[in-house]
């Protein structure tokens, strides 16, 4: 996958580029807004990671201009600003996701993966499958190996999100943002308790667990 990184803090840029390359991506980097915009418009990228505050051309302007030129590359904003209202500004300018510095690299990577996945929608899906676990999005029913699983509405949304990102690491923050629509950090790790409840429903009594904990990162649902 081809990723554009626009970041003026060279130390942070080096780290990002190196990390993404180690994760198997092809990365182009730019240290200011103008160069970033030129690159974004001249080459096809799967994701662009853009800092909010950039010399020459501000991050918000950069993305707004990309959108004006009809460029639909998913954008992940990085920001060192305070966040209460800046997230909204970033998303309004055409950003697809927003991450406040300092961030954990796994968090960034998981979000980039999610943005790439979103880019290639496999039509409108009415059914999700992971191994022998099925989720019917129309009847809102869950089954594993043909056995019905009773799910609360929120558990259904949680499982749906995990299954839509099957095979990918999903962080606690991503779950809190997507499933609960909260953009704050609860003092206690409430998500873990929800996950263990869900795990008890879908994995208990089955030989092969589907819902895995990825240490230091989050969770992943996968068949093997």
């Amino acid at each position: 996958m081809r990723i554009l990184v626009v970041e003026d803090d060279l130390e942070a840029q080096r780290y990002l580029v190196q990390g993404l390359k180690e994760s198997g991506h092809v990365v182009d980097e730019a240290g200011d807004g103008d160069t970033g915009l030129n690159l974004a418009l001249s080459r096809a990228y799967d994701v662009a990671v853009v800092d909010r505050m950039l010399p020459r051309l501000d991050g918000l302007r950069l993305v707004a201009e990309m959108r004006e030129h009809g460029n639909a590359t998913p954008v992940l904003f990085l920001s060192a600003l305070s966040e209460v209202d800046d997230r909204v500004k970033g998303l309004k300018a055409g950003g697809d996701d927003y991450l406040t510095k300092p961030y954990a690299f796994v968090e960034l990577l998981a979000r980039i993966d999610a943005l790439m996945r979103r880019r290639a929608p496999a039509g409108i899906r009415t059914r999700l499958d992971v191994g022998d676990l099925e989720l019917d999005l129309l009847t809102r029913a869950a089954k594993r190996s043909g056995t019905d699983i009773e799910l609360q509405p929120r558990e259904f949304r949680l499982l749906e999100y995990l299954m839509r990102h099957a095979g990918q690491v999903v962080t606690r923050t991503m779950l809190l943002e997507s499933v609960w629509e909260y953009h704050f950090d609860p003092q206690t790790n409430v998500i873990d308790v929800h996950i263990s409840r869900l795990r008890a429903k879908i994995d208990k009594g089955f030989q092969a667990p589907l819902l895995h904990t990825v240490r230091g990162a989050g969770y992943m649902i996968r068949a093997h």
Binding site: D9, A12, V84, D85, A104, P153, F184, P186, T188
Partner: protein
């Protein structure tokens, strides 16, 4: 935020009240002044009339002493040859006419000073007229009565005009004064209204608004100009504060970001080499703790100062409570604490969903943390006559009365809770969110034990329930 207070009716405005007091005072003065003039004029005129009558009587008495009754009759007759102001009537003991220019004996009303007033008929320019006279009655030996009077009809007419027009005059003064006052205060009210409306919009968050000037340079313009200058200053200060928070955020987060990056890199390298890296992992955890505290502090500072432009929208409070309760329910269950959401009628307020949810999450988090196994945490929304309440009650140890004002301060953690994790910023954030919404944070005893924390939003924040865009199909 505070909506502009509802406009007072014109009758309740200060301007109108002042005008009304002045009108009443003026009407009273006019009445008093005219009344005194009337009384004084009348007294002088009466005295003049009485003097003439007295002189007349003196003359007649002398005639009687010199010439007896016939002399008196003769004098009366000679004095009544020409029609004038003077009136005489001499009657015998049976009230039969003897001499004079009046007949019959009139209906007389006596007065305290011995004078009398009466009405009589007289031909003026060919037709009869009832006129008013004032005089005295003398008893003449032999049972005769002599009435000596003066025609005071002109004075009487003036007096009557005076007494009938005075109430109307006062009424007119009151009426014109009140209408004028109302117009004047409405004009003033309109100017004040503009100032009030602009202030309301500014309080609601639009700091760029300014009070328009009428250009007349009057005291309202001076007030508006002063307000505008004050607003310029506040806007500059807010912008400065905002810039400071932004730079502090940027300048602290950038090195923190590098620090965390380097730690992650070292961790990855050590793990790749197969070395134990527990120290680095702990350092990362400490860094994250530091970041968490910093974020919380920044959010509190921004929320408290109101520099954040956090979007306000009508939101249903019961829904916010239900969402947060749902988020924490598994955690409560794990701790063997029952988390109960009390049913309530839906109520919407103007607020920021994220901030209110975060404040409520902090309260619920605390409640679960401090409630022993088997205890109960209750989340409730309620509309009372003092506002809209969102409260979390627990059956934990509670907070001693004396410590309550202190616990909302930043970093304050009571001795009893030092051992449990937390930054000591949870309640400070709740207090800041309350402040941001013009709400109160109340800490009360829960019955029989525990703490009840209540966010009480003002009744002015109540909004019509938002229409749901989608059905809750999930």
């Amino acid at each position: 935020m505070i909506a502009a207070r509802s406009k007072p009716g014109i009758l309740r405005t200060q301007a109108f009240r002042i005008v009304l007091v002045y009108v009443l005072l003026f009407a009273f003065s006019v009445t008093a002044l005219l009344g005194f003039t009337y009384w004084n004029t009348r007294r002088t005129l009466d005295a003049q009339t009485d003097q003439i009558i007295e002189a007349d009587i003196t003359g007649l008495t002398e005639e009687y002493h010199h010439f007896g009754l016939p002399g008196l009759v003769e004098t009366v007759r000679s004095r009544t040859l020409h029609q004038g102001q003077a009136l005489y009537l001499l009657v015998d003991g049976l009230h039969h006419y003897v001499a004079g220019n009046l007949d019959p004996w009139p209906q007389i009303s006596g007065r305290a000073d011995g004078t009398v007033e009466f009405d009589f008929e007289r031909s003026v320019n060919g037709h009869m007229e009832t006129r008013r006279a004032r005089g005295r009655i003398l008893a003449v030996p032999g049972g005769f009565l002599l009435l000596v009077a003066q025609d005071v009809h002109d004075r009487y007419l003036t007096e009557r005009m005076f007494t009938t027009t005075l109430p109307w005059t006062v009424l007119l003064i009151l009426l014109l004064g009140t209408v004028g006052g109302a117009l004047m205060s409405r004009n003033m009210l309109r100017r004040l209204d503009t100032i009030n409306r602009t202030s309301g919009e500014i309080i609601a968050g639009d700091l760029s608004r300014r009070v328009p000037l009428a250009g007349s340079g009057d005291e309202f313009d001076v007030l508006s100009e002063n307000l505008n200058r004050m607003l310029d200053r506040i806007e500059r200060l807010m912008k400065g504060l905002r810039e400071v928070t932004d730079s502090v955020a940027h300048d602290l987060r950038t090195p923190l970001n590098r620090l965390r990056n380097r730690l992650e890199e070292s961790l990855a390298r050590l793990q790749a080499e197969g070395t134990q890296a527990g120290e680095i992992e702990r350092a990362i955890a400490e860094t994250d703790q530091l970041i968490g505290t910093f974020n919380a502090l920044l959010l509190i500072a921004e929320t408290d100062a109101g520099t954040t432009r956090a979007a306000m929208a009508p939101l249903e409070l019961g829904g916010v409570a239900a969402d947060v309760a749902e988020l924490y329910e598994p955690l409560a269950e794990e701790k063997k604490v029952s988390l109960v959401l009390m049913p309530s009628a839906p109520v919407a307020i103007e607020g920021n969903r994220s901030l209110i949810a975060q404040a409520l999450a902090n309260l619920v988090d605390n409640a679960i943390k401090y409630t022993p196994a088997g205890g109960k945490v209750r989340v409730r929304t309620a509309v009372t006559d003092r506002g809209v309440e969102l409260s979390v009650a627990d059956s934990g140890p509670g907070i001693p009365q004396a410590d309550r004002p202190r616990v909302v301060e930043r970093f304050v953690r009571l001795e009893a809770s030092r051992s449990s994790p937390g930054t000591g910023l949870g309640l400070s954030l709740v207090a800041a969110v309350a402040h941001f919404h013009n709400a109160e944070l109340l800490l009360d005893d829960n019955v029989p034990t525990g703490l009840e924390a209540t966010l009480r939003f003002p009744a002015t924040a109540i909004r019509p329930l938002p229409v749901p865009l989608k059905n809750a199909a999930e």
